[in-house]
Every structure is written in C-alpha cells, then in structure tokens.
Amino acid sequence: MDLNLTLFGQIITFALFVWFTKHFVWPLIIKALNDREAKIADGLAAAERGHHELGLSQDRATELLREAKTKAMDVVDQAHKQATHILEEARLEARGLCERMLKVAEEDIVQAKNAAKISLQQDLGHMVVRGAESILKQTMDAKVNDRMIADMIAEVSFSE
C-alpha cells in the first residue's frame, strides 16, 4: 500500500502508451473519420445537386411538352385548313369539269339536231318531189298544185 518505485515504473509505462496512441493510433483513425466525413459531405452535396438538376429537368420537360402540344395543335389546325382548301378546290374543279362536259353534250345535241334537221329536210324534199311527181301524173291543175305546195311549205315551216 506504500508508495514505492512502482510509481516511476508506472509513469514510464503511462508515457509510453500515451506516446504510442498519439503517434500511431490517433492520427490514422482521425484521418479515416475526417475522410469519411468529407466523403459523406461530398455525397450529400452531390445528391442535393442531383435533386436540383432533376427539378430543373422536370421543369424543362414540362415546358417542352407544352411547346410540343402547341405545335401539334398548330399542325393539326393547318392540316384542317389545308384539307378544307383542297376540298374546296376539288369541288370547284369538279363543278367546272361538270359544266364543261354539259356544254359539250349540249353542243353535241345541237349538232345532232341540226344533222337530223338537214336529213329530214332532204327526206322531205325527196318526198315532196315524189309527191309532186305523183300529183303531176294525175292532175296538172296548176292552181291546185300551187296551193298544195304552199300548204306543204307552210306545214314544214310551222313544224320547225
């Protein structure tokens, strides 16, 4: 229980262990701890930055989407307009074509009618000549002939 030389022995031992800890233990572990602290801080900062960038990208994506929608709507609108335009043009063209075809048909009809008229007149002439021949064969009453011819001519004229 008395103090003795052990005191000095222990002081040396104590100094030895403190020295050892200070030089070979403490710096290494503190370095590891500090490094990890820096790593974690970096990681957190990176995460924060990523989060921020994600927000920005989302905003941009929304913006792009809205722009695209507007553009698409414009395109559709234009397409509608163009379609209406084309339809209108087609209708006009069709109408013109139709009218032209009608006109051609009408002209054809008129031509056919004229041709028929001419052929009828020719036939009639022949008939008249033949009638006249037969009448002439029977009677040569000039008055009667004149009247008959006049009547015939009148008939033909009326029937025109």
Partner: protein, 265 residues
C-alpha cells in the same frame, strides 16, 4: 479471537498485498521505497499493450469507406472522447485527445479486472509459486499517483508554456484575490488548489476501486455459497457502472485541468 477470525484477517490482508520485487542494491539505497509492485506493473503493462495493439491494428485497418463493426466500435469510442475533449478543451493541442483516449481505455481495462472473481488469479498464480497477486492495478496507489502526477506534470508544463513563467506566477499570486497585497494569502491557496488536482485524481480512483475490491473480498468471505451469488452479482453489476464512471471522470478531469492550464483567467 477465534482462529476463524484470524483466517479472515489473513485472507483480506493477503488479497490486499502487492507482489513485491526488489534488487538488494535498490533496497539498500532506498529502503521500503526501492520495491517494485510486480503485479501492478505486469497487469497494467499487459492491459496497456492489449489496448495499444488492438487500437493500432484497428487504426491500420481503418478505412474511410464503410467501416466494419469492430471499426465502428472503435470510432464510436474515438468520437466519444473527441467530443468530450472538444466540449471542454478550446485550445489546439494534439496531445490532449490521444491522452484522454489512453487514460479512458486503459483505466477502464484496469478497472475491469475488478470483475474477475477475486480468488481466480491469486489462486492460480499461488499454485505456480507467486505468493501475492493483486489483479486490479488501479487499487494500487502507485499507479493512480503515477497517472495523476504525470497529468500534474503536464498541467505545470502547459501553464508555463502557454502563459510564460511570469504569467503562471502571476496567476498563482493574484488568485483567488486579485490584489498584490493579498499575495501571502493567495499563494498558499493557489498551491493547495493546484496540488489538490493530482491528489484528488489519484485518491478518487484509488478509493473507489480499492473499496470495490474490499467489498468483493469481504463477499468472498461469506461461508454460505449462495450468498456469494446473491451479494456478489448485484455488486458486480453495480461495479460495472463504477469502473466506467471512474475511468470517465479521470479522463474528463484531466481534460478540464489541461484546459485550465491553457486558458488565462
């Protein structure tokens, strides 16, 4: 006085005697002071070496990546000590934290020896020819004073280093009463104040652990076997708290004293 009582006295006495070793030359020169307590020296050195080797290996293996469980334990201990130091000590001194860590873990390990059954090592060693063996180095005043006097030396060193010799002398003379005329009162008070630090550090640790040891020895004296268990277990559990608190107190007070040595009043 029965022989049983005498046996008990002998038993207690035996448990409280250190294993002495001395060289005739030392004994002749220094008398009773020339003795070395082998048990204190050996046990404390083994425990300190265990602490050093374990921490050295952990420090070598320490990575800044994901730590192993063992590394986490060491780191928790480190950060605990570092936080204590940071909270109390405001200067920058690379010695304080390693010193605090060494004190805390080493004293804790030495105190921990108190939880080993009191008769185990003395009996085993007695059978191989070692007559005395005290397993708990912190129940030896030599050890507690060795540590507290080392701390005291550091206190004086840093007082002079930080404040200069004159500054330190001024502090001793002008406290607690800030007048040169009261120096004759201040100086003795200051000296007592400073000397109380190592003495209280050493005696507090020694007293707590010595008392704990004595209680264990006394419990071991009870003749009824189940009383050992009923008394020994609660005391051991309670003692877990004490050994931890005592090592913590020694560490914290060391940091506080060294912090005071760095700060001018």
């Amino acid at each position: 006085m029965s022989s049983e009582a005498q046996d008990s006295t002998q038993y207690v006495h035996h448990h409280l005697t250190n294993m002495p070793w001395s060289h005739p030359f030392l004994q002749q020169k220094l008398g009773a002071f020339g003795v070395l307590n082998l048990d204190t020296l050996v046990v404390s050195f083994i425990l300190g070496s265990l602490f050093s080797i374990f921490f050295y290996v952990m420090a070598r293996r320490a990575t800044s990546g994901v730590p192993s469980k063992l590394q986490s334990v060491v780191e928790i201990l480190f950060e605990f000590v570092q936080k204590q130091v940071k909270d109390t000590f405001h200067g920058s001194n690379p010695l304080i934290a390693p010193l605090a860590l060494t004190i805390f873990v080493w004293i804790f390990l030495m105190n921990l020896m108190d939880l080993i059954p009191v008769d185990l090592f003395p009996t085993v060693l007695h059978s191989v020819g070692v007559p005395y063996w005290r397993m708990v180095p912190t129940t030896d005043l030599n050890l507690t004073f060795a540590m507290s006097l080392s701390v005291f030396g550091l206190i004086l060193y840093y007082n002079v280093k930080e404040k200069g010799f004159l500054g330190f002398a001024k502090e001793l003379i002008l406290h607690p009463f800030p007048s040169v005329w009261l120096a004759p009162i201040n100086l003795p008070l200051s000296i007592v104040h400073e000397l109380a630090k190592p003495v209280s550090l050493a005696l507090r640790l020694f007293g707590n652990l010595f008392a704990g040891e004595v209680i264990f020895v006394l419990i071991a004296l009870f003749p009824i076997w189940w009383l050992q268990w009923i008394l020994g277990l609660p005391w051991a559990i309670f003692h877990i708290l004490i050994i931890l608190i005592q090592s913590f107190i020694f560490m914290t007070l060391t940091v506080v004293y060294l912090s005071l040595a760095h700060e001018a009043h």
